[in-house]
C-alpha cells in the first residue's frame, strides 16, 4: 500500500472509530487533545531572515520532526503529534505582532515559539505575556533581561545580557594579560545597531576599569560595503587585541579584510556570525584561533549527536551555528519536558514548571533562576575546525584559548 493510501486508510479508520465512539464516550473525552498545536511567526524575508534561517528555523523543524517521529508529545498516558502553524513576520515588529494575534485568536494554537533576534522578541513580549503563553526567548541578548523577566513572568531569556557578554570578554583579556600573553592596547569597532551599541556600551567602561588602553573605538553604519578603511586604520595602531561587535555580513567582511591586509593581532574577536558554519566554510584553516561571541561544549557527546542530527535534517546538510542554535534546540526540549510533566495543555502550569523545574538538554542540565539560565558561553574560539567555548572558563567543557592567534595563511 502506498503511503498516501495508507494515510487515507488510517484517517478513515480513525474517523469511523471517532464516529462510533462519539455515541458512547462522554463529550469531554471526544474533545480531548488529538494534537499539540504549535505556532510561530519567523522572519522568512527581510533583514532578519539571514539569522532566522541559520539559527531558528532548522531547529524548529528538527524538533518537530523528531518529536513526531517518536509519536508526539506525551500528554498523560498517550502521545499526540505536533501540528505546526507558521507565518512570515517579514522581519517587522508590526507583522510579528499581527501574526501572533492571529495565532492566538484565530488559529488558537497551544504554544508559540519565539521569533528570531532581540528586537522582535522584545516586540512580541507583551503580547505573549498578556495571552499567558510561555515565551522562551532563545535568540535575544538584552541588558533588560532580568527586568523583563520580572515584568513578564512568562518570559525566559536564554542568551543573557550584553553587559555580561562584554564583562566576560574583558575578564578573559585580564586573565590573558596576567599570563603575559597580551599587552594593554585594544581596538574596538561596532555596528551602529542594537547589538553593537549594547555590547560596545558595556565594553567601554569594563575595559577602562580593567585599565586597558582603548586605542580605537568607532562605530560604522549597517550596510557599510567596504570595511577596508577601518581595518587599515586599526592595523596602523598595532593593538594586541581587536574586538568587533559586528553582524554576520560585516564579521565576514572585516575578517576578509584583516586577512588581506595581514592584520593579525594576538586576540582577534568578531561578533555574530563568527560561530556560523558559513565562517568556517569561507575561511577554512584561516578560522583557526579566531575568537567570537558564543561557543558550545564541542567535546560533549550530546552536542556531537545534536550536530549530526542537525546536519542530517537541515536542507543541504547545513550545520547549526555554535551558539544560539544549540540553545534554541535546548529551549524546545525544555518546553516539551515541561508540557509532558504537566501532562496537558495548561499554559500557566507549563510556565510554572519552566520556572522551577530542571531540564535535560543538548547543552546539559538547565535550571532557570529568575527566568534566566545560570550558565552562558560568551567567548568561543575556532580550534581545529570546531568552535569551542573558552569563557567563562568555569563552564563545563571550557577549552584553553590558543594565543597568540596563528598568522593568516595564504589561501
Amino acid at each position: 500500500m502506498g503511503s498516501a493510501t495508507k494515510q487515507r486508510a488510517v484517517g478513515l479508520a480513525a474517523g469511523l472509530a471517532m464516529m462510533a465512539g462519539a455515541a458512547t464516550i462522554s463529550w469531554s473525552e471526544a474533545q480531548a487533545q488529538t494534537s499539540v498545536k504549535i505556532g510561530y511567526a519567523i522572519s522568512r524575508t527581510g533583514p532578519a531572515a539571514g539569522g532566522a534561517a541559520v539559527t531558528s528555523i532548522p531547529n524548529y523543524e528538527l524538533w518537530v520532526k523528531e518529536v513526531n517521529a517518536a509519536g508526539g508529545i506525551k500528554l498523560g498516558d498517550k502521545r499526540v503529534p505536533i501540528e505546526v502553524v507558521q507565518y512570515d513576520d517579514r522581519s517587522s515588529a508590526e507583522e510579528a505582532a499581527k501574526a501572533l494575534e492571529r495565532l492566538i485568536n484565530q488559529d488558537k494554537v497551544d504554544f508559540i515559539l519565539p521569533p528570531w533576534g532581540t528586537g522582535l522578541n522584545l516586540a512580541v513580549g507583551p503580547i505573549l505575556n498578556k495571552a499567558g503563553y510561555p515565551h522562551l526567548a532563545s535568540t535575544a541578548v538584552t541588558d533588560r533581561a532580568p527586568e523583563l523577566a520580572k515584568r513578564w513572568p512568562n518570559s525566559f531569556w536564554l542568551l543573557g545580557t550584553s553587559a555580561d557578554a562584554s564583562k566576560t570578554l574583558v575578564e578573559l583579556l585580564v586573565k590573558l594579560r596576567g599570563e603575559g600573553k597580551i599587552g594593554d592596547t585594544v581596538a574596538m569597532v561596532s555596528i551602529a545597531d542594537g547589538f553593537g551599541i549594547d555590547l560596545s556600551a558595556a565594553a567601554r567602561p569594563a575595559l577602562a576599569a580593567a585599565k586597558f588602553k582603548l586605542a580605537y573605538d568607532k562605530t560604522y553604519p549597517v550596510g557599510t560595503q567596504d570595511l577596508g578603511p577601518i581595518v587599515n586604520e586599526v592595523k596602523a595602531l598595532n593593538p594586541d587585541t581587536f574586538i568587533a561587535f559586528s553582524y554576520p555580513p560585516d564579521t565576514i567582511a572585516i575578517t576578509e579584510q584583516a586577512r588581506i591586509s595581514g592584520f593579525n593581532p594576538k586576540v582577534y574577536y568578531t561578533g555574530v556570525g563568527t560561530a556560523f558554519p558559513l565562517f568556517k566554510g569561507k575561511f577554512g584553516a584561516n578560522a583557526e584561533g579566531v575568537m567570537g561571541i558564543g561557543g558550545w561544549s564541542g567535546d560533549s557527546p550530546a552536542i556531537k549527536d545534536y550536530l549530526a542530527r542537525h546536519k542530517a535534517s537541515a536542507a543541504n546538510g547545513a550545520e547549526p551555528d555554535r551558539w544560539a542554535s544549540a540553545v534554541t534546540f535546548a529551549s524546545l526540549q525544555m518546553l516539551q519536558q515541561a508540557i509532558e510533566r504537566v501532562g496537558k495543555v495548561d499554559r500557566a502550569a507549563v510556565i510554572k514548571d519552566l520556572q522551577t523545574g530542571s531540564f535535560d538538554t543538548v547543552i546539559g542540565k538547565v535550571k532557570f533562576e529568575n527566568n534566566m539560565p545560570t550558565n552562558y558561553w560568551w567567548v568561543g574560539q575556532w580550534q581545529g575546525g570546531e568552535f569551542y567555548g573558552v569563557a567563562p572558563s568555569g563552564n563545563a567543557g571550557a577549552r584553553q584559548p590558543i594565543l597568540p592567534k596563528p598568522a593568516w595563511k595564504a589561501q
Binding site: A53, P229, N232
Partner: protein, 289 residues
C-alpha cells in the same frame, strides 16, 4: 592618503558598475526597475552555484551568466513590459506603471530565490589574495571587479558615442518623441537597452559575489545604491553614472578614514542632496524643457 584614495576609487568603481545597467533600463527604456537588485543577487547566486558546484571560476562564469541574463531581460521586456509600454500614453505614465509592475516582480524574484536558497547568508572565497599597489595592500577580487567595471564602462561608452546604434540609443534617452522622426525604432531600442542593462547587472552581481556576503533578501540595498548613483549622475547618462559612483566611493573612504566611519552613509546622502540642490537633473543631466 593613498590608501583611502585607492579604496575609495575601487569602491566607487563598484558603485558605478552596479548602477550602469540601471541607467540604461531607467534612462533609455524608462523602466524604473525596482527588481534591479534582485537580478543582481540572482546573478550572484548563479555565480555561487557555478563556483561551489562545478568549480567554475566566476570570471568564466560571466560568459554564462551575462548572456543568460541578456536573454531573460529581453524576454521580460517583450512579454511582461511591452503591454505596459503600449498602454502608457506618456513616458511619465510608463515610469509609474513600471514601478508598480517591477515592484511585484521584485517579490517574485525574491520569493524564488528564498525557496531555492533559504534566507541564510552566502559567501565564497575567490581571488581573496592581497596585491600591493603603490605601496598599499588591496584585495585582488576587488581590483579585478574594478578593472572589469572600467573595461565595461569604456566599451559601453564607446558604443554609445561612436556607433550608429549608440547614437540612436542616446537619442531615445534624450527625446523619445522626436527620435522616430529620424527613423529610429524606439520600441526596439528600448528593448535592447533594457536587455543590455540586464546583462550589465548580471556582470555586477557576479563580480560583487566574489567579495560581498549576500542573501536572498539583500537585493534592495543594491537597488537603492544604484538609484542614488543614477539620479545623482543624471538619468540615462553613462558618464554621470561613473562620476557619481566614484564620488560616492571616494567620499565614503575619505570620511571613514579621516572623520568617522559612522558618518559614511550620512555623507553619502548629504552629497546626493547637495548635487540635486545645485543640479536637479543630476551632474550630467539636462533639465527637461
Amino acid at each position: 592618503m593613498t590608501n583611502a584614495l585607492l579604496t575609495g576609487l575601487v569602491l566607487g568603481g563598484m558603485y558605478a558598475l552596479i548602477a550602469m545597467g540601471l541607467t540604461l533600463q531607467y534612462g533609455v527604456a524608462r523602466i524604473m526597475n525596482l527588481a534591479y537588485g534582485e537580478f543582481l543577487i540572482g546573478s550572484a547566486f548563479a555565480s555561487y552555484l557555478l563556483f561551489t558546484g562545478w568549480a567554475v571560476n566566476p570570471l568564466v562564469g560571466l560568459v554564462v551568466v551575462v548572456p543568460v541574463s541578456f536573454v531573460v531581460s529581453l524576454l521580460l521586456y517583450k512579454i511582461f513590459l511591452t503591454p505596459l509600454v503600449r498602454r502608457a500614453r506618456t513616458r511619465d505614465a510608463l515610469e509609474v506603471d513600471s514601478i508598480l509592475a517591477t515592484f511585484g516582480l521584485m517579490f517574485i524574484v525574491q520569493g524564488t530565490l528564498l525557496t531555492m536558497f533559504g534566507g541564510a547568508y552566502f559567501s565564497y572565497s575567490f581571488l581573496a589574495i592581497p596585491v600591493t599597489l603603490v605601496g598599499e595592500v588591496l584585495a585582488m577580487n576587488r581590483l579585478v571587479a574594478f578593472a572589469l567595471a572600467v573595461v565595461l564602462g569604456t566599451v559601453l561608452y564607446l558604443i554609445l558615442t561612436r556607433t550608429r546604434i549608440g547614437t540612436s540609443i542616446r537619442a531615445v534617452a534624450v527625446d523619445p518623441n522626436v527620435a522616430p522622426l529620424v527613423a529610429i525604432n524606439v520600441p526596439q531600442l528600448s528593448a535592447l537597452a533594457f536587455a543590455v542593462g540586464g546583462a550589465l547587472v548580471a556582470a555586477a552581481g557576479v563580480l560583487i559575489s566574489m567579495f560581498l556576503t549576500f542573501s536572498a533578501t539583500s537585493g534592495v540595498v543594491f537597488t537603492m545604491k544604484a538609484l542614488i548613483v543614477v539620479v545623482m549622475g543624471g538619468i540615462g547618462n553613462l558618464m554621470g553614472c561613473l562620476v557619481a559612483g566614484v564620488l560616492l566611493g571616494l567620499s565614503e573612504a575619505l570620511v571613514a578614514t579621516y572623520i568617522d566611519p559612522g558618518l559614511t552613509i550620512a555623507v553619502n546622502f548629504a552629497l546626493f542632496l547637495g548635487v540635486l540642490l545645485v543640479k536637479p537633473a543630476g551632474i550630467f543631466g539636462r533639465a527637461r524643457q
